[in-house]
């Protein structure tokens, strides 16, 4: 059975079904249960935007409210996973990673390698990414590149409810540490989602829209913007292919290269700051791999090299949108190799 549910609900459903499947699986984070022990109604939060709401009621003490001490509880998640207890831990906003980064950079990511290749760390870190809700400089970042840079981590960022559910279940069943980036701006968007559990393998990009003239490669909150751009371009007679990477590490180079070899033109888009981001990564890899297929200079669409401003008008100007993608496509169509 397939229903239309929100991206937020799809994640909740994935967690729910995996908690039911694996009696060892734990969830923890700040207010992940929400209000347990406070004396009023329990399970009223489910994290700051309510993603895990209802799970405490179903799974009791396996859903744990952690103190706001991310280094300790993220590290505890790593340690528990290393000891054979799989954990989904939440760091509410990716912006907060600065207070627990070592446990991901130097512990979770490196333990298997440093220990000679036998340890397994069945760990998922859920975290919200991206701007668009007036969260200002410390609640809006898209720090995916930082994690993609680090060997030993996997990095996921879905753009649809369907993918969110399938990728979350895959992430939980995966034996490596996964940074699961949830585009909070898309939490309330709806889409078709099968009711039964299913997985989407990592490293398989999705062709969100087929096209002939230009490949727009992106992920997460930029996907709907790219699709919007593609549909406007269609009206101008330009057929854009939109590729949703789904996982940034591992990266599905094959799908991207195949698309660019077909279209000969590339626009890589990332909501992140422009230096060393996913867009630069894609452009560099594509150029190195299939330079001769390129008919024009690949173009990048990113946010500016500034923190995320609070003012709604500035934030709107900050977030790269369909307009910027269309402009980038136009540049690739205009120029000639």
């Amino acid at each position: 059975m397939t229903r239309h549910i929100t991206l937020k609900s799809a994640i909740n459903e994935a967690l729910d079904q995996e908690m039911a499947r694996d009696p060892k699986l734990l969830l923890f984070g700040q207010d992940t249960a929400g209000g347990v022990g406070a004396g009023g109604v329990a399970d009223t939060w489910g994290g700051v935007l309510g993603v895990t709401k209802g799970l405490y009621t179903k799974y009791g003490d396996r859903v744990i409210d952690a103190p706001p001490t991310e280094m300790a509880y993220v590290g505890a998640a790593v340690g528990a996973a290393l000891s054979g207890v799989p954990v989904v831990a939440e760091v509410p906003f990716i912006d907060f990673m600065g207070v627990c980064f070592d446990q991901l950079l130097n512990q979770a990511a490196k333990i298997r390698y440093m220990f000679g290749g036998t340890a397994e760390i069945p760990l998922v870190i859920r975290t919200m990414v991206g701007a668009g809700i007036n969260g200002a400089a410390q609640h809006s970042q898209m720090l995916t590149a930082m994690f993609t840079h680090i060997p030993g981590l996997k990095v996921v960022c879905p753009s649809t409810p369907h993918d969110a559910k399938g990728l979350m279940i895959e992430a939980i069943r995966d034996k490596d540490p996964v940074i699961f980036c949830e585009p909070k701006f898309l939490y309330e968007t709806s889409g078709a989602v099968p009711a039964d559990p299913y997985t989407i393998p990592f490293g398989q990009a999705r062709i969100a829209k087929e096209g002939r003239d230009v490949s727009i490669v992106t992920y997460g909150p930029m996907v709907p913007r790219a699709l919007e751009a593609a549909s406007q371009l269609e009206q101008k007679g330009i057929s854009a292919e939109v590729i949703d990477l789904r996982t940034l590490s591992p990266l599905d180079r094959t799908t991207v290269l195949k698309s660019v070899m077909k279209t000969g033109r590339l626009v890589a888009a990332d909501e992140a700051h422009p230096r060393c981001n996913i867009a630069t990564d894609i452009v560099a890899q594509v150029t190195e791999q299939c330079f001769t297929s390129l008919k024009a200079a690949p173009q990048m669409v990113s946010a500016p090299h500034t923190p995320v401003p609070f003012s709604p008008v500035l934030e709107k100007a900050y977030i790269p949108g369909a307009e910027q993608i269309i402009a980038a496509v136009s540049r690739t169509m205009a120029s000639h190799a």
Binding site: T44, A136, A137, F310, S311
Partner: protein, 333 residues
């Protein structure tokens, strides 16, 4: 009347009326500012998140009343009260929260990043605990300057468990910095009750773990806060090291606007508003000191006008120019 109460009464009587009235004005300004935001949030005109300080006014004002612009404070996500207590302009604050030109950060910071370095206000902070290391630095600068200035860092009962705060307690103590750690114990970190975030029931015990003297006061009683904080701050000015002050207080609104706080025991908030309202308690004490209700009413009236003006001006203020997006990242680049 107990000895303690008598002593407090005598102490209260020793505070100049001017000081009392100006504290009242600040507390009332905070309350009306927050109550107004609570209302205006419903209009959809206020962007982003806001964590309201209503209920906790006596703490911020009781402490900041001892400070000059040269003393510095570092604040939290729940920062409006600290800002107003430290003398930051209310109109510029409101404009900031509305994200407008003329906001104290030109609309680029918002509620969680209000700062005014000229007033010694080092910023609200969207990262729990992050103000503590910054305040260590401010206190170090103070110590080296040798002018007797001090720094204060505010934190909530949940947030002070962050490694950044705990390391800062150790650092401040090892370096003997003139830094006061204020713990505003309002019982909750978001929806999580204090005993689920913190391994001690009194933060005085926590302070012992870092070799720091500490005190606990009724954070709802301005005069108690003022007295205790005053003594601790004076010691710091004289060259003693860091201290911790736990202020037991209550949060009137939800964690942020939109939180219905049903996780709290039924009646808890109503009871707090009725029986533990620091402004009511203040007015009562003030009257006991011979300050007339009329004087207080006059202040109430002026504050109401100020808040109203702040909102009106904010609504009228233009949005920042788009060119602002790129400005102010670096001094030079």
């Amino acid at each position: 009347m107990s000895h303690d109460k008598k002593e407090q009464h005598a102490y209260n009587a020793s505070i100049p009326h001017d000081t009392v009235l100006s504290a009242y004005r600040r507390m009332k300004t905070i309350r009306m500012f927050e109550d107004r935001l609570h209302e205006d949030f419903k209009t959809g005109n206020v962007p982003g998140f806001a964590h309201l300080y209503a209920g906790q006014e006596a703490t911020a004002v009781g402490i900041c009343s001892h400070l000059t612009d040269q003393d510095q404070i570092a604040s939290t996500h729940r920062g409006h009260g600290h800002c107003i207590a430290k003398g930051v302009g209310v109109v510029a604050m409101m404009k900031e929260i509305y994200g407008r030109q003329g906001g104290i950060c030109n609309g680029k910071g918002g509620s969680m990043h209000i700062a005014d370095l000229k007033k010694g206000m080092l910023g609200a902070n969207g990262i729990l605990g992050a103000g503590a290391p910054l305040a260590c630095g401010a206190a170090l600068a103070d110590k080296l300057a040798g002018q007797g200035h001090v720094a204060i860092v505010f934190g909530g009962d949940g947030g002070v468990n962050e490694g950044a705060v705990l390391e800062s307690m150790n650092l401040a103590s090892v370096w003997k910095l003139p830094l006061m750690f204020v713990v505003e114990q309002n019982g909750y970190a978001q929806s999580t009750p204090q005993q689920r975030t913190t391994s001690v029931s009194s933060y005085e015990d926590r302070a012992k773990g870092f070799g720091m003297p500490a005190a606990t006061v009724d954070g709802l009683d301005f005069f108690a806060v003022y007295k205790t904080a005053g003594a601790l701050i004076q010691k710091m000015r004289e060259g003693h090291g860091p201290v911790l002050l736990e202020c037991r207080t209550v949060r009137f609104y939800g964690h942020f606007e939109g939180d219905d706080q049903v996780y709290r025991p039924a009646g808890e908030v109503d009871d707090a508003r009725k029986n533990h309202d620091c402004l009511k308690l203040f007015a009562e004490s003030a009257r006991n000191m011979g300050i007339s209700q009329a004087e207080l009413d006059r202040i109430d009236h002026e504050v109401a006008e100020l808040i109203d003006r702040a909102v009106q001006e904010s609504l009228k203020a233009p949005h920042p120019a788009l060119s602002e997006l790129h400005d102010g990242v670096y001094v030079s680049y």
